[in-house]
């Protein structure tokens, strides 16, 4: 049984895995790029090895080098985290070929779920509903599309086979308007992608993105840890997740859980995984995809179920049977996760880089922060902008929201802009409080400027504070001229001055 784990990742998830290993008494090996010499995962690990230059392709994606390091330092297993090499079947294969344990599913399961058409076919065969449509069927003529449309039922979407980003996409509400829309969709697709093939997909209105966490051991036991609500997204990036879903009820939860277990069993799944579903307003649900790895938002499930998912991953890989049965899994209270990104919500969510000069982390009852940064660490443009996950647990969803509000207010990060104000605005949104949101909420019905009723604003205070800072700056500038350069006591305020203008 292995007693040393190499963590093939960086940032908060590397730290998260490292913590689990340490709490199991397992030795840890970090790998890092040249940009990450001072990263927290390097500082916290027992051993650390340089992979190469900052770009991922020369460092965190160098599976060959990572396996070589694992062999050399005597690690018995590799945890891939999420992103980078986590869903690369060839990497998992290479790890196993090197006689190391891969902390994740079998390469065959990764491969089966990695190809969208194969995944749809596999789970359909197992009786799992997928979004009705003609994707993967082949190139259809206008006549064929018009014939199939009523079977899918309206409303539906015409989508470009080669497409993406909404180009060549049309919403169709009736059969009558369809021929004209097919023509214009084909024309747009041709112009954008040089390919005028299109397919049909049922339009899920007011859709929720809800996912089910799965755990499966090597002894044939598969169980689910209920759902996570992930509908708050922007450009397909999740921003906030919660469990339980305010939209789900016990019946939906049970039905989705059972189906998710079936989907996992269909590919002989082992270890932790997540089945993502689209759920329509009538609580019909459709398989979207399976993430064959640890998920960013796994801690919301940990907080409501008490199960340490990363520790379970390691135990499973060590060949142990699951420590729980489905009947042991209960949800207590409510958990919310806010992804804290280095990006400016007042400037189109533009990523923000630079040195973090100061942090005050929220804590106290019911608060958890998973992060890979610290004061003095520099956010580079090489990796993704998520710098922390702020999580809260509350006895009820209402208490969790109030707790998240106070935790966001406490959080201070100086040196880069963050999306904390976005989350603060979200926590004040009456629709969010009421659980009235779907996947289009952030992009279509949410604004940083809209002020919810009853929310106090303080332009006078902002005016006084800015004026006092401007005044101090003017005074100091005058001071410099008077004092001259040689006076060593200037050092002190020059330091302050410089910090202010960083």
């Amino acid at each position: 049984m292995f007693n040393k784990v190499l963590i093939a990742n960086r940032g908060e998830i590397a730290v998260r895995i490292l913590r689990a290993c340490r709490e199991l008494g397992i030795e840890t090996v970090a790998v890092y790029s040249e940009a990450d010499r001072q990263a927290l995962h390097v500082r916290y690990a027992d051993e650390a090895y340089l992979l190469g230059p900052a770009p991922s392709s020369e460092s965190y994606l160098r599976g060959d080098k990572i396996i070589e390091i694992a062999k050399k330092c005597g690690a018995g297993a590799i945890h891939p985290g999420y992103g980078f090499l986590a869903e690369r079947a060839d990497f998992a294969e290479a790890v196993i070929a090197a006689e190391l344990e891969f902390i994740g599913p079998k390469p065959s399961a990764i491969a089966a779920m990695g190809d969208k058409a194969i995944a749809r076919a596999t789970v359909t065969k197992a009786g799992v509903p997928v979004v009705p449509g003609t994707e993967g069927v082949g190139n259809l003529s206008d006549e064929e599309l018009l014939a199939i449309a009523p079977k899918i039922s309206f409303p539906l979407l015409i989508k470009a086979t080669a497409g993406g980003g909404g180009k060549g996409m049309r919403e169709v509400r009736t059969l009558e308007e369809m021929p004209g829309l097919i023509t214009s969709a084909r024309r747009e697709a041709k112009a954008a992608f040089g390919d005028d093939n299109v397919y049909l997909e049922k339009l899920i209105e007011g859709a929720h993105h809800i996912e089910i966490q799965i755990l499966a051991d090597r002894h044939g036991n598969v169980l689910h840890l209920n759902e996570r609500e992930c509908s708050l997204q922007r450009r397909h990036q999740k921003l906030l997740e919660e469990s339980p879903s305010p939209f789900a009820d016990d019946d939906l939860r049970r039905r989705m859980g059972a189906v998710a277990v079936k989907a996992a069993q269909a590919v002989d799944y082992v270890n932790a995984g997540t089945i993502e579903f689209l759920v329509d307003k009538d609580k019909n649900f459709y398989f979207l995809e399976m993430n064959t790895r640890l998920q960013v938002e796994h801690p919301v499930t940990e907080l409501v179920t008490g199960v340490d998912i990363v520790k379970e991953q390691i135990r499973i890989t060590r060949g142990r049977p699951l420590g729980y049965t489905q009947d042991d899994i209960h949800m207590t209270g409510a958990a919310i996760e806010c992804r804290i990104n280095a990006e400016d919500p007042y400037n189109g969510f533009m990523p923000s880089t630079g040195k973090i000069s100061h942090i005050i982390m929220p804590s106290g009852p019911g608060v958890r922060v998973d992060t890979g940064v610290y004061p003095g660490f520099t956010i580079t443009p090489y990796y993704d902008p998520m710098i922390a996950k702020l999580l809260v647990w509350g006895e009820t969803r209402g208490q969790a929201i109030l707790r998240m509000r106070r935790a966001l207010e406490e959080y201070r990060i100086v040196g880069v802009r963050t999306n904390i104000p976005f989350h603060q605005t979200m926590m004040d949104s009456h629709r969010f409080m009421g659980g009235q949101y779907d996947t289009r909420f952030v992009e279509e019905r949410f604004s940083m400027e809209a002020i919810e009723e009853g929310k106090e604003i303080h332009p006078d205070i902002a005016a006084i504070m800015a004026t006092l800072v401007a005044h101090q700056q003017t005074q100091r500038a005058a001071h410099v001229v008077r004092r001259g350069e040689r006076d060593t006591s200037n050092w002190k305020w020059v330091g302050r001055w410089e910090r202010m203008h960083r």
């Binding site: 007042y346 443009p381 993704d384 104000p421 205070i461 800015a466 004026t467």
Partner: protein, 165 residues
């Protein structure tokens, strides 16, 4: 010292009387204002209320982030204010605008060409950074003057990318 401080078109006349007192539109307030541990984080206690804000210098204004809300604040002393009034208010609308890279990254696309007319809000350039594609938009209407980069270029933070005249 007397300042004219503007937030979203609303003007406050603020006088800094001494270290402990300001007047706002003629009303004198006792203030206790401190920078926290040398960071651009400031604590203001006024009338018993405790406020804390991040205050960043912007290009032509101050950005005050207070209780999860961003206030863009223009602070001018009276002399500046008179000068600006004399020269017309169109500061932001006149002169050349230079689009600079807000962060290091890779130029993905430049959907405009030199001489092209653009509207306020039109996408001028797409910059990739942190695994994300970021659209840089024109802050005002104008004509594209000089494009200094091409798709595929790596750029440094603050590097000039193109100009709008």
């Amino acid at each position: 010292m007397k300042y004219v401080t503007t937030i979203n078109g609303h003007e406050f006349i603020i006088e800094v009387i001494d270290d402990r007192h300001v007047s706002v539109d003629g009303k004198v307030l006792e203030v206790d204002f401190e920078s926290v541990s040398g960071e651009p984080v400031y604590s203001l206690i006024v009338d018993g209320k405790s406020h804390e804000a991040y205050i960043y210098p912007g290009e032509e204004n101050w950005e005050v982030l207070l209780q999860g809300r961003l206030y863009p604040v223009i602070v001018e002393d009276e002399r500046e204010k008179r000068l600006r009034a004399a020269s017309g208010s169109g500061v932001a609308e006149s002169g050349e605008f230079h689009l600079k890279a807000p962060m290091p990254g890779l130029i993905v696309a430049i959907p405009v060409s030199e001489g092209q007319e653009v509207e306020k809000g039109d996408v001028l350039l797409i910059l990739e950074s942190m695994k994300m594609q970021n659209e840089l938009k024109s802050p005002r209407a104008g004509v594209i003057e000089r494009i200094r980069v091409k798709p595929g270029d790596s750029v440094e933070q603050r590097q000039k990318l193109l100009s709008v005249a």
